[in-house]
Amino acid sequence: MLFVCLLLACGGEAGTSLVYYETYDPRSLDPALSTDVPTGEMVTLLFDGLTQFDPNGRLVPGLADRWRAERGGQRYVFHLRPGVTFHDGRRLVAADVKASYLRVLDPATRGGRVWPLQPIAGVEGIEVLGDTAVAFTLTEPLAVFPKFLAMPVASIVPVPGGGGGAADFGQRPVGTGPWRFAAWRHDDELQFARNPDYWGGAPLAESLTVRIVPEPFTRGAEFLAGRLSVVEIPFGETAKWEAEHPDWLQRKPALRVIYVALNNRRGPLRDPRVRRAINHAVNVPEILRSVWNGRGIAARGAIPPALGGGDTTRVGYAYDTATARRLLAQAGYPNGFAIQLWRSGTNVELGRVAQAVQAQLAAVGIRAEVVARDASSMREAARNGQTDMALLDWWADYPDGDNFLYPLFHSASFGAGGNYSFYSDPVTDSLIMLARQTTDDAAREALYRRIDGRVYEAAPWLYLWFPVDLWAQHPSITGWEIPVIFNGQRWTTARRVTPK
């Protein structure tokens, strides 16, 4: 009731600028350093890759207007869009692509997130074909490679000429993207000006400001005061916003999964019956409804339903404490056992989920102790296999089922690679590799579905849900939609209209 904000009053500081926000300052504006979401989103405004994603996660042409796979997906030829120039007026040529990728792969850049380019077979794997085409030879066939190239780290930069070292370029970036860099006041705001020559059509708005607003409550207040164009609604505030401002809300299923990694190599969790028992013991729809305001789709697999290979019709682990107890007894734990459930202390919403899971496990005799640590400590422990159960979430890097299988369940991804449950199954491994080499989309997605189902049966996780994103869009804004993938929104079609 305190949030009294009349439509008229909210138009307060109209102007023509769009205002977006990040929760913390980007690392840099250098694509080579884009390892986190704020950096990746900002790089997406300034730069382009050969390919890119639209707000719905579809792969669309970027700086390359067409490409083709050769040799069963082991070689790719990308043809550059003609007439593209960098913000400083220089013309984009194929040599820039090679130089950009080599720069990311160069250890001196200290980029860190090099995996999207690692499938390329070294320096010799990149062939510049004149000014307008470039070919990549991979170490092995990889059907999703064109999606890797839409990642911010694979953006094309003008090298040399970006000027000086990485730190310098990261402060004054020059790209080909829809927005030109204007100013950056650290921890305060970034300013971008429209690139009138953008190959994809110049942005409709004159400028875009990105403010750094760390506190969710403050973001809500800023939005209601008309000083942010859009705002993401925290799960805990869903009901309030739905009641007060239903007209402003947009929702979209996110490419994200919430789960509890059950360490398949620790104690009682080694036994698949115990892991299945845990899945039966927890009433996921109930927790989803009460703790997350129903903003999610119960997971019966790891691949979100919005992606090819996602399956909502799979027969799931029904909430059934009797079955859970029976499975525990069969595994030799008729009286349950004690175990640790780790969660990140900084994420309040996941904290409530941890409590609910703890309470429900107690009903079948599993005494879970909730261990709350800061995100960095928890990540280290989980990567080193020191957590029994760890409440985690996984966001898509690229919209493809592979992103929910290879990092999460392939044995090559143990620990730091993303497989925090240390699930290991040679058949799964080889099926994943087979899928990665299958260039036919329908066949590949059928394989994803099969792999996801196979893993689901082994229950390496306590499967929770796929969240649904909820955003409020200010009534003065048109042409914006929720991106399912962090780098799917370029703000080119968004603009302010005078509110009536």
Binding site: P107, A167, F217, T218, R383
Partner: protein, 306 residues
Amino acid sequence: MIAFIARRLLSTIPTLFGVLVVTFLLLNVVPGDPVAEMVGERADSATIARLRAELRLDDPLPVQFGHYLWGVVRGDLGHSYITQRSVLGDLAERFPKTLQLAGAAMLLAASLGITLGVIAAVRPHGVVDRFSMLLAYVGVSFPVYWVGLLLILLFAVTLQWLPPSGYGGPEFLVLPALTLGTRSIAFLARMTRGAMLDVLSSDFVRTARAKGLSERLVIGRHAFRNALLPVITVLGLDVGNYLTGSILTETIFSWPGVGRYVLQAIEKRDLPAVQGSILFLSVVFVLVNLVTDLLYAKADPRVAYD
């Protein structure tokens, strides 16, 4: 005086060295891996190993510390692992903003707090006294973030008089300064009232009144000046605290100061940024204490340094 300052500054060197050692050891004891924060999710162990080696994180601790110390001696606080920017440059960008916020909060606290305290002491148990002490009680008890959120709700969302958060003109400064200053206003008011009541009942005040001085002169010149020492102590401590960053206030109001910088650095295990910031802030704290000591002598001629 100069000799005193020089001596005090020299004596801070061992203190700062101690701060460096303790920070360094603590950062190496806490769990969490700086390289894991650099590479983000989904990393490969080869990249992690390479980065660890490049950052010399696998060197023995004394070697790492010696390397860092050598940099500090040359005035180089290193570069952030995360942003690759110079730590000193980052601090130089943020410190003026923290200074601005701390200054505004202190100005508010000193003017309001001391005034309330003096008025309360002049008419003890009067209406102003009761009111200001209630206010002080409330101000000391309320948590900072709660005050901040309420102020945003009232002045930014409901009344729309002020922007909810951000950095800019004076209108952006009001709410965070009030939030940060609330505790100080309350504390200073109580402190001043107590000190004034002590002084007002002393012999020299009675003498001053007996020789016919106006009440204004008695309070303003004779009593207040003598009540100032404890007030300066409190002010000095608060300034020190505010200048070293007020994480909660800066976070709630999106204020780009050093508090948030340090918090972010700690979360990301950005060792050079954390170490550099703590060293820098220790220097600030030491300097503020020095200034406070000098102010004692200014306020009370009986305090002398030589």
